[in-house]
Symmetry: C2
Subunit: 201 residues, 2 copies
């Protein structure tokens, strides 16, 4: 039998990863992301530089891997969405579980966003990560259409929806959490016209 998908080793790996990231995050906040080297992180965490680098593919990932689940969350939300109206409303609904995810620990998420938006390298990689979510979302949207729209149409809608999310997240962070994230997402989606509901195909 192949090793179970949640082997002891996998659990251990996740735990170590989380702990390394936790210590590293403090270093980043205290000293600045660019100023902290992998050698510093190795020193602060007690593992060797080699080992630290085995847990993360690059320095940005030490901070951003926390947001990895979001892409799959959106795809799953789309997949389990019973309603069959237009893409745009489906995409908006698919962001609800993401909001829940982000709201589980508002102050922690806000601390991460502060570091990310203050560090160009992190912002850039964060955008890359969001970009990487898109293909799976496009595939999921087209999966259940008997007569799918042209690729480019779905791609544009997904891109726009993700940019709505990004803009809302940025505004939420700028407001220091005072504005409501869901409302901001609604505002973003409305900025591109609700009448998108009228499907042509």
């Amino acid at each position: 039998m192949p090793p179970s998908p949640v082997s002891v080793r996998a659990i251990s790996r996740q735990a170590v990863r989380a702990e390394l990231a936790r210590v590293a995050f403090n270093e980043f906040c205290a000293t600045g992301f660019n100023q902290v080297t992998f050698a510093d992180l190795a020193g602060a965490t007690g593992v060797s530089r080699s080992t630290f680098l085995r847990y993360f593919t690059n320095k940005e990932d030490v901070v951003l891997f926390l947001f990895d689940p979001i892409g799959d969350t959106i795809v799953e939300a789309l997949a389990s969405d019973a309603r069959s109206d237009d893409d745009w409303h489906a995409l908006r609904r698919a962001l609800n579980p993401v909001v829940d995810f982000l709201m589980r620990d508002t102050s922690e998420v806000m601390a991460f966003l502060d570091l990310i938006y203050e560090t160009p390298a992190l912002s850039a990689r964060f955008r890359e990560k969001q970009f990487d979510w898109r293909p799976n979302i496009v595939r999921e949207l087209q999966r259940n259409h008997a007569l799918p729209d042209a690729q480019i149409v779905t791609r544009v809608r997904v891109a726009a929806a993700m940019e709505c999310f990004a803009a809302a997240l940025a505004a939420w962070r700028e407001s220091e959490g005072r504005e409501d994230l869901s409302t901001l997402i609604d505002t973003s989606f409305r900025a591109l016209g609700p009448s998108i509901a009228i499907q042509t195909s």
Copy 2:
């Protein structure tokens, strides 16, 4: 008097830059972007590694600086647009000069796009460049509004418009230039609903 903005040196610098980029582009196409080092480029161009690095801020810039004018082109198009309808149509019109710019030498542009889309590092930086265009476009759009929309609304519209452009460009490249870029941009913009024309504020 401070040196004129188009000094002899500035012209020389642009010319050298263009020549270095030209030779480098051939190397990249022949050997692969990641496989070519700055040392290689120095060898191929005849200048020292130090000098080569003075002309470009990073390796991606050697390829992508060609697209730098596009951001300003869009802003200027918006500024000189007499019509005062909604943001969305203004943004669509502002892309026309960009299409003209790209059509001046289709096969050259296509060669660049091939290299860019085949090289993840270049695609990523290309997206960054497009992202960097946004703030100026947002500012220009809000400049002439007596009653400007909320920041987030304009930001989302600009982001969406730029993603429409990006999607159209990608599709154009996928079609190897057979499809019409302007038509593809129209299709992209229509994917987000023409009824965006109905402004709420």
